[in-house]
Symmetry: C2
Subunit: 156 residues, 2 copies
């Protein structure tokens, strides 16, 4: 057997660092801009965060069980910054609860989270994390556009 190059605990700590940075990014937005400001063809940052809030648990449940059940659309339950942060925090708690519940032997199993994308489960988990980094970076750009300094990328 090959060496262990990653553990679920190291992945969780890395991921939680990203969650803290994403949370600071949400906090940096003025409330109205969070829900309204956008570049043509793109969504406001709140809608991107709602996407993350919608798909985290289905991703983790798919990783755990092999059953990937994707909601049809994004939850739109948060209409204030406070509610969006609360929903985000609730999903961070779900991450802390569900990531350790992914059986370790699942990580390298080939699965098909969406039709046609056959990959090891770890790649599906990283895909979700990458999507968070991707949308947060778009949030950084919105903040700059608004003349607001984003939180430092390196601070986790």
């Amino acid at each position: 057997m090959a060496s262990t190059v990653l553990t679920p605990a190291v992945l969780l700590e890395h991921w939680l660092g990203h969650r803290r940075l994403t949370r600071r990014t949400i906090e940096a937005f003025p409330e109205e801009a969070l829900f309204e400001h956008h570049i043509p063809g793109m969504r406001p940052f709140a809608a991107m965060v709602a996407e993350l809030n919608t798909f985290l648990v289905p991703t983790l449940q798919g990783a755990i069980s092999g059953t990937w059940a994707w909601p049809d659309g994004t939850r739109k339950d948060a209409t204030s910054k406070e509610a969006l942060l609360a929903a985000f925090d609730a999903m961070t708690i779900e991450l802390e609860r569900l990531l350790p519940a992914v059986p370790e032997q699942r990580y390298l199993e080939l699965d098909e989270p969406v039709p046609g994308r056959r990959e090891p489960v770890i790649a599906s988990l990283l895909y979700f994390l990458d999507n968070e980094v991707h949308h947060r970076a778009q949030g950084f750009t919105y903040l700059r556009h608004l003349g607001i300094e984003p939180p430092p990328f390196f601070a986790r």
Copy 2:
């Protein structure tokens, strides 16, 4: 010993998928906008790619050897889109060469790639990859700002 939840080969394949997407993002820019277009307080996308081109090899060499030697600034050797793509492709070849040279036992060793940031080597590798995803997403935003459709995020 715990299960293997990631292998260097799976990490490389995941990373190369990101490299392909970043390359398509560079390609989507008109040449002048690549070097000139930016949001106030941010750099043009070419400068972000130059940063990636500058720091990939020092990251991998640090992961291999434990000696982290960071250049003072970003390389500014590419002044055309063709040259920037060639430099990017050269770095992808370095990734394919150097990632498999990271000794597997290094991945979970605690190291200090920059003063005060003590973390397992896998976290430093993921940090570089996250930085690529972060800057590419800013490139996506620039493209939208220019009225250009970015490549699909899911296509790797």
